[in-house]
Symmetry: C2
Subunit: 469 residues, 2 copies
């Protein structure tokens, strides 16, 4: 294959491994991720049964309904062991939403007799059939993806687009790509991961003509990367580091959720893998749980002061919880830094409890702070500032620095703990449910007190002190 021959980047800095070792690794991975004939046959049989059941139920309800198997199991891109079957039931667009929902559930229960109802944009039925996890989802049957009324209506168009382009070889490469992205921790478009969705992965493999050439390209990406498979001529600026215009909808960036860090990680690991191929890239890293002794040693080596705000985890699905945790993390970091408590690194974790952890370079400040006043030539403001401080015996100044007054006045918070334990923490821009959780009470842990986060977060802290790209 041409794309794993020895090559150099434009700067001549890096050569990839010779193809032999890389191909050996890929065969090993392929043998793990490719479903064998037996698995394929079983899936095909179950899918056929489900489709038949759904078709019978749907056409009983309304003429013009049809049924479509979609997703990776429909396209032969699932990874061996995945047991998801997605059955989409398409109803005529004349139906109103309520009837669609009602019919959808009826068909769902008929298809998956032991199923239960779940609620996304539409309610749908989910359940187990012969060891497979089955979703039966209703949607509208439309002429074009631009007419969609909800996200699920788009799925049949995605499915058709990919089915037309994925042959056996590309499907195999999709499996490699998915496993690679899983291995490096960036697979999944949920809002916790903010990584690469299955559909995005398949589009990238199709676009670049395979897994190896996708890696070769990604290693040299200069974000923002814009990919427009159907040449829609994107006239919309997305502002995302990776833009893949949906072939079925020119206004949608399939990679909108993908965080800049995860694009960068793909670039990093693409280079690393090509330089020194190993199956380890395809195996998600399990962080070593941190012991209390190791925590103390890290803190002593680093000389920093960790502070943690710990509270009961709000009862939310991950797609709601993690954006709120990240918002709260950003707010608390900004709040700390605005008070002069410099943050070296920060992170948020959640399990039974949730934690915003900030590792401080500076955890204490002196009793006074420099307070910069207005330019002296802005007379009314300047006089107001001067008069406010001139007679305060606690204040040094006002004096003149450059063209401004400066006063040295008492600092509100001289320790990070005092700041975090005060009501000021509610003014930093917390996520709404995090704010509610904090109102019910929270702990502030400082320095070695953070050992109280063990063992609940021993793996997260293990990863924190062994940070990887």
């Amino acid at each position: 294959m041409s794309d794993d021959e020895a090559d150099r980047d434009e700067d001549g800095a890096t050569g990839s491994n010779d193809g032999g070792e890389l191909e050996d690794v890929l065969s090993t991975v392929q043998s793990r991720v490719d479903p064998d004939a037996d698995e394929r046959a079983r899936l095909r049989a179950v899918a056929a049964t489900l489709t038949e059941r759904a078709e019978d139920a749907a056409t009983d309800l309304v003429a013009g309904a049809d049924v479509l198997q979609v997703g990776s199991s429909a396209r032969g891109t699932w990874i061996s062991g995945d047991r998801d079957i997605d059955v989409f039931v398409r109803f005529p667009p004349e139906l109103d939403r309520e009837t669609l929902a009602e019919y959808g559930l009826e068909v769902g229960h008929a298809t998956v007799p032991d199923g239960h109802e779940e609620y996304a944009e539409h309610p749908y039925v989910k359940g187990e059939v012969e060891g497979f996890d089955v979703d039966v989802v209703p949607c509208f049957r439309l002429e074009s993806a631009t007419e969609i009324r909800s996200a699920v209506d788009r799925t049949p168009f995605h499915n058709r687009y990919l089915e037309e382009r994925l042959d056996e070889a590309l499907a195999a490469d999709v499996r490699l790509a998915k496993q690679f992205l899983k291995g490096i921790g960036v697979y999944g478009s949920d809002l916790r991961t903010q990584g690469f969705s299955g559909y995005l992965t398949e589009l990238l493999v199709v676009e670049y003509g395979g897994f190896r050439s996708l890696l070769e390209a990604a290693a040299d990406w200069h974000p923002p990367v814009e990919i427009d498979p159907e040449d829609h001529g994107a006239d919309i600026s997305f502002g995302d580091p990776l833009v893949v215009i949906d072939p079925t909808d020119p206004e949608r960036n399939v990679a909108a959720v993908c965080a800049m860090e995860n694009v960068a990680r793909l670039q990093h690991y693409a280079r690393e893998f090509r330089t020194a191929p190993s199956v380890e890239f395809f195996e998600p890293r399990e962080p070593t749980p941190l012991t209390e002794a190791a925590l103390r040693e890290h803190l002593s080596d680093r000389g920093t002061t960790p502070v943690a705000v710990r509270f009961e985890t709000p009862e939310l699905v991950d797609d709601q919880l993690y954006p709120q945790l990240r918002k709260s993390l950003a707010g608390i970091v900004t709040g700390l830094e605005d008070c002069g408590f410099d943050v070296l690194r920060a992170q948020t974790f959640a399990a039974e409890t949730a934690v915003v952890l900030a590792e401080l370079s500076v955890a204490e400040r002196p009793a006074i702070e420099r307070h910069l006043g207005p330019p002296i030539h802005v007379r009314a403001h300047a006089e107001g500032f001067y008069d406010a401080y001139a007679d305060d015996p606690e204040v040094y100044g006002p004096f003149v620095d450059g063209d401004r007054y400066v006063a040295e006045r008492a600092r509100e918070w001289t320790t990070a703990r005092a700041f975090l334990e005060s009501d000021a923490v509610f003014d930093v821009g917390l996520g709404a449910h995090v704010e509610t959780a904090l109102e019910d009470g929270y702990d502030v842990l400082v320095g070695e007190e953070t050992a109280a986060l063990l063992p609940e977060f021993d793996r997260q802290l293990g990863a924190y002190f062994d940070p990887q790209p």
Copy 2:
């Protein structure tokens, strides 16, 4: 007088004191600064004698030479007690510089028999005559100030310009203005003070038509303030907060030396004086000497950590010393801040020893620092960074933050003392003679060790801990 009637600024924020109190204060000051008839007569007599002696000596040497009394004593703008008489000897422009210097000294010695030679741009003779300090300075007699060959050639033009415009009343106001500027600490265009020269003060009083209206105007200045008494139409951007185009030379800003702080101080004290007139504004503040006990109390109240670099004062005139000290101060402050040692305020003093003092909000940093690497898409740099740190057991990371690598590595200096005691202090951009002085050895004082600066700098430190506008 119209300019001290009750008035309001545009924002209506401030009323000035009613004129009576202000006028009472000004009369008191006037009675102190106005030379009485006896003093005037004595000065006139001595000046006449000196002029005659100089004329005789000069015309003996070269036809076309003449003599001019210049400066505040010539214009009646000196403050009572000042005892400076400046005699300028003008030679024809055909003379070469060497002959000018030679003749100048000859005339100088003839005029001031006990005088000694000093060296500015030209050598000149300085000495005491009947209790007056006399300078006899040679210069070229030119048609226009734009033809000047050195700064002293300009003086006769300045003198003529002011003599034509200063009447008795304005001269009295110049004396008030000078004493006010002395009182608030901004009089003098030497490079230690960086304030208002005598010539600048006289121009401002002439321009605004008096001391009271100068204060009224200054209180409302919006720097950059541009004053162009002869409407030269300045086509040069000076970049200074106060620009007074020299009436005798359109390319020169008479206020070029005047620091932004000193312009701001004039604005501040102009407002304060007009609001609450007092003779104190005309009396230079004598800072209370700081005791060791008071120093300790300030440090404990403020919670800061002062650090001082102390060395033998380079043997330089103030006009060379203070710019070098200020440059060294700026360099050391930047050096400290670049290492994470946040500076609250800093100052330099000189006597027998010289000191750069920085008061730190943060005097210690943890063992590690965040080191931001290149964007991951800048492949050659990114790979170089990653390879440099990936296998270093002392380094945490590299990991990915945004689109960049970050490594947490050992910090070079964890205390300000270690930084200041290291050779790194020579890389911060010290003044040349300060650098030489430091090479001969210096002390680093931290925290209460700065008590060793007492009593040498007890007044400077008294002022430091009682900062005024």
